[in-house]
Structure formats: C-alpha cells, structure tokens
Symmetry: C2
Subunit: 318 residues, 2 copies
Amino acid sequence: MSRGINISETAELLRNCEDAYILIHMNPDGDCIGSGYSLQAVLKQLGIRSRVICPDPIPERFHFLLPEEPEEEFPAKYVIAVDCADEKRFGILEQDYAGKVQLCIDHHISNNGYAKHLLVEPDASSACEVLYKVYRFMQVKFTKQIAECIYTGMATDTGCFKFSCTGADTHIFTAEIMREFPEIRYDLINRKMFDVKTPGRIRAEMVMLSQMEYHLENQCTLIWVTKTICQENQINDKDLEGLTSLPLQPSGVEVGVTLREQDNGFYRVSMRSTDKVNVSEICQKFGGGGHIRAAGCQIPGTAEEVRKKVLDAVREAL
Amino acid sequence: MSRGINISETAELLRNCEDAYILIHMNPDGDCIGSGYSLQAVLKQLGIRSRVICPDPIPERFHFLLPEEPEEEFPAKYVIAVDCADEKRFGILEQDYAGKVQLCIDHHISNNGYAKHLLVEPDASSACEVLYKVYRFMQVKFTKQIAECIYTGMATDTGCFKFSCTGADTHIFTAEIMREFPEIRYDLINRKMFDVKTPGRIRAEMVMLSQMEYHLENQCTLIWVTKTICQENQINDKDLEGLTSLPLQPSGVEVGVTLREQDNGFYRVSMRSTDKVNVSEICQKFGGGGHIRAAGCQIPGTAEEVRKKVLDAVREAL
C-alpha cells in the first residue's frame, strides 16, 4: 500500500535529479537523519551532489552517521523532503521551501501531499524502510555508512523493534543489513540511541515520574515539561528527547501525554497510545498529526486550559 | 557453532522420548518460560505428554504463554533442561534432578555439560532461537501459542533486539513468525515485557538512580538493592526484575553492577557490560557465569567487603 508514485518512478526521479537539497524535519531524529544522509551517499554514488538541509542542529549522538568530508555549498536545482508529513515540519525553513518540494519520500499516514511527487508508504516503520526498498530497487552498493543510517532510522522509529509499526519487512531488512555488515556494532548504536542517559536526563525522568498526573480512571497520564521545572533541575532540551514514552510506563495506561511549555504561549503536546486509541486523529483536531500510536500538536492557553482541552479530547476517544 | 549433538540428533531424541519433565531455571524469565512451554506444546503434537517444572512460580506477566488446559501429573521417564547452563540453576530442585538430565538445549557459552546429551549454540540469542531451529527441522506445525513463546523468548533475551546477542537469524526468525501470525500483537507483548512498570518498580528506579555509585573513573557503576531500601520504599521482588540494566544508563559506563542482599549473608551480583569487558569471566572467578555482556554470581560478606571484591575484579578486567 503506497500513495503517489511507486518505487520505480521514485528511483527514476532520483537518478535524473541534479544539485539536490534533501530537507529533513525540525527536531531531527534518527529516521530523518538516517534518511537524509543515506540518500546523500546514494546520490553521490550516482555522481549527483546534494546537501542535507535541517532547520535545527543535528544532535551529537547522530554525528557518526554524517559523511567525513565537509559539505559543498551550491544552490538547489531539485528539492527532496524525507520523513516530513507537512511543510510545517521544515520549521524556520518553511518559508524558504514551501511549495518547492519536487519529491517527498515518507511513511506518515498523515502526509498532506504537499510535494509535486510523493512516495508514501504508511505501512513502513520509517522513512528509512521506504528508502531501503528504493535503494535495493536501484541496486545501490551499500556502504557501512548507508547501512548504519538505515539501521538507525528503522531502530529509532520502532523503539528498537518494539512498537506496532515494526513489520516483518523491518526485521528482514535489518537481517539483510546485519548479514552484509557483521562488523557494525549494532548493540552500541542501540545503547547510544536508547540506553545512555545524561545526568540531566536522569534528573528529568526522576522529576517527571514523581509528578506524573493520572486522569480518566488512570487510563490517561500527563507529564508537564515547564520552563520552571527545567531550570530548577538543570534539564536542557537535549535531555528531553524521547521523554514522551515515559507517561506510558504505568500499567493500564491507554494514552500518555507530554505537555511541553513553549515560548509563544503554546504547549507542545506529544501523545502516545498503547492499544485502542488513534492519537493521530486526536492531534489532527488541534492541527497536528502523526501516527496512530504516536502523534503531536500545539495547543495555546494556560496549563489548566490545555489540560482541559487534551483530557476532553482523550475522553471522547476512549 | 554448536557443542554436543546437532539439531537432527536433538529432534530424534525429542521424537522418541516419553513422559518428559522439562526443567526451566529459577527466577524464570521469558526465554526459559517460552522454551519450556513451546517444547511442551510441540511434544504434545507428537503425542508425548510432558510437564514444565520450575523451582519458582511463573510471574503473572508470562501467564499468556501457558496452555489453557491444566497440567497432568505423572512421574518423569525423561528429563530435559532448557536454558540452564548449570544444575545450580534448578534452584531448590537441584537435589531432585542433578545428574538426571538426559537432554539439555541451551545457548549459554558457560554451559558446563552436565547433561547426557547437550545441544548448545552460544551464537544464538536465546534458547528459544535454538528451539526454533529444532522445531523447523522437525516441521512442527506452529500455533499462536508456540509463536508467542518463541517471540517472547527471543525478544526478552535480546532486550527487544537491542543487545549484542541479537543476530541476523534472530531477526529472520522473528520475521517468519510475524508473517505466519500477523494477528499477534507483538507491540503489546513488548509493552508488557519492557515498558509497563508497577508503582513499586517506578519507586525502585527513582531510588536506585538517586543512590547509584560511580567508581573507577566512572567506568563502573554500582546499585545496591538492600532489604532496608526495599522495605522503606515498598519495593517487592517482582518490582526488581530486569533492574540490572539500570546501572548502564549513564554515558561512559563500561560495567554496571547490581548488588542484591540475600538472606544467607551473600550478595547476589548481576554484572552487565557495554563494550570491552567480558563479565562472564569476572563472575566465573566467584563461581558464577553467564554471557560476555551479562553474567551473575553470589559473593559472601558485608557490603564493604563485597564492594571491594567486585571493584578489584572489575578494575583488573578493565
């Protein structure tokens, strides 16, 4: 099941593009970074130069996925977006690239079709899984860097093969990569992605767990990431990545919500569900989106107002 | 690489056994439970009755792996052990079964060869992975229960495909199971195994993280699970399962040690390593064993004495 063009047509567009910009989303994660830098390496094999463009800095723990040589500067003749369901995901670069994306490769069911050509596979675990199929179709020669990019993207978007988005294909492609590159220390990649915590992160988890709110007969948990909490506990932005799975820890929770105070009077809402609830639908009501069990949106108002809006919407969905 | 008999010979022994007892280890985990109950189901298909024998109760979260019908009682004519590297792992049943095991199927490199016939595959992620190969060789008809047993065993022993014991085969076998049983909610099994925490567990993690000791230039962390800590924080035995990965959370840690106070004047030591150190070798010095990156032993003495012994051994290994 895919929307838009197929893999063969995507391969054709990639083979024929020139001076490409590869856009990845704000707050970049393993999947968009792995997608962007693997695609850059693949295009390079085809003799096509490209730049990976991200509105935010790439977090340090993903630096092992980047090419060793410095990036060349040149103007874009072709704009590709990977793992971006919406032009809003370009963040501060939205005004520069809105309406200009010629090819988008994605796996978000909520992709709004903003690009001229679109390859969306909502059943794929990750954009990296879609790209893996494209690369195999193109008979790309895999390198260690490409393998690490694809593995990291699939592993991070599936919570290390834990979430419902993990498919048999995800495991097959992972096995193929592991057979071709047995020398890669996948366990150390996983440790870096999932297990290693900064002292700030350890403090953040202790605070969030101790202050977690239980609502709707304990089926919905809320954690608040306010500026005050972060200042008092010396918690910075990096410490908070992926904290959104924390509210799902207590048994019996159906929807876990992380509310993060923004500078503009909004709260950024990250919603996760365990089984029955489609949180993408809930977040779409507030202008957001995502996947069935992991989605997000922004809601304006005070903490009380936002709590009420979120709980009303979750109550309705339960 | 396997030790002892091969898969075909193992299949032959299983086909010809009668009234089997399947021994699994003390403090049973997903792998030995999945191994034991899948083997029972497979033997049943062959018209052979068997009982799964465990020195400790099966924790509630594994009950979905058990057969629906109550177990028949009968004396053993054939004794099989799965996932047990040593007869000591039979716990309180050691005196009953030591020297009586006819067939042992295992994946621990430290297996001491106590059984008459031994199939050990140290490269396999789990005993369930070894059994999967045996069942496929035997052309067993997989049922949902067998599939769930094997998936749970492989997933739990690999930390959901995270640890270095995860091989390409682990992913391939998982994909085969997922293709054959797409209706199984693997994500909910994973949630139950890895994410859901009791209130006591959440308290345990908060206490252990706040009291964690850093030694040997922060390359070695220690957490203490004493009776006093457990009483004061209402933490029970169930809350502590799998806590042993906690000391590996801070970045830069090479060896993480969990020391759990026992009733007999001993501390139970669980040792995990991230990269270079073979903790199985360290634990063997104290009469224990396990895997390269996950092993255990028991050490007598006061907290100070045990800390010194452990740190001396880790220092030597680093």
